[in-house]
């Protein structure tokens, strides 16, 4: 206990630099830090891994800290899911939506939409499928999928497909991207994603 005090007084923020590049620069945690840690936990263990005490341990604090930011575990989960849906829904697609040429936009979408947004994003998406019975999870995933599907469908329309065909085409194309992600995460010797992105592009770009 004494040692702990000395440690913190001597260098209040050293533990971050070493143990936790995730959190902010200050020596104290914010609600966002907890939400980010929760997302990281989701990415490699699903909702079940969002446990207050284990999270506190990896953050180098005790749960006394947590309850200064959230009322309970559910509130943290909701916050994390909301944050994820926000940053990966319409908002996360802004840069793609801004591309004027539909052909180029489609190519970009097909190759990077899932991977590019944030490094741990795909893992979160996949992990959430395991908890799809939770209504909050279902909403968040649906929101993200919907935003992407709409952009894809719009792109196909701009490429000349009739509306209904554009919709189902977008659905199958997006499904393929999701599935490739799925395979990549469970296959140890999966081919590099670039190769498959090319294959997918060849298939899903209307000739």
């Amino acid at each position: 206990m004494i040692r702990h005090r000395i440690f913190r007084l001597t260098n209040p923020s050293i533990r971050w630099r070493i143990l936790l590049p995730v959190v902010n620069e200050s020596s104290r945690l914010s609600a966002q830090d907890w939400a980010r840690a929760a997302l990281k936990a989701i990415a490699d263990g699903g909702l079940a891994a969002v446990a207050v005490e284990p999270l506190a341990r990896t953050l180098g604090v005790t749960k006394g800290s947590f309850y200064a930011h959230y009322r309970n575990r559910d509130e943290l989960i909701t916050a994390a899911l909301t944050e994820w849906a926000r940053s990966h829904g319409a908002e996360g697609l802004a840069e793609f939506a801004a591309i004027a040429d539909p052909a180029r936009r489609l190519r970009e979408l097909l190759t990077t939409v899932v991977q590019a947004v944030q490094p741990l994003a795909p893992s979160v998406h996949l992990s959430l499928l395991g908890d799809r019975n939770d209504p909050r999870v279902r909403d968040a995933v649906h929101q993200v999928n919907q935003a992407r599907l709409e952009l894809l469908a719009r792109t196909y329309r701009e490429l000349g497909l009739p509306p209904d065909r554009a919709t189902s085409r977008a659905r199958v194309a997006y499904a393929a991207i999701l599935g490739l992600l799925h395979l990549a995460q469970t296959d140890p010797d999966a081919p590099h994603s670039a190769v498959l992105a090319d294959e997918a592009t060849a298939i899903f770009l209307p000739s």
Copy 2:
């Protein structure tokens, strides 16, 4: 306690018929019954839902029964995953592999491979995504995916595609099927699978 005895003596197997159509006809449980219950739990809660005492409750017994069949929880999980991988790997594909005409085989595969094998199979597959860090899960999923991919690739070769293109084509096609499953499970207003199966077939059947 008395009432319990009376209940069992009066009609030893009534509770099954009413509460648990999953289990066998006998009034006592087998190891397979537990494995099946475990798979059901996985289907709607992932590995975390495979908990001995809750399972015992839904089966109408206490955990004293469980430990007569398995040494511990891990053994049950392994058994359930092994059973799933067996019945959904090469073995579950036998009837498709038996189809001589590659075009018809491909069509059947694309429309029914994931849904048809067993009703709760797709849910298990998706739920396992949330636990893909567990090596046993990874193995089981990989085994099932691999069997399907190989059959698909073989089919594409028989349809005249060069081997490497057949492989990547199979991969993208299978990914699309998986992804459609993802979407169907998270989308409340998802279009009927038949429609999309048609769309998929149109895309993935080489012209």
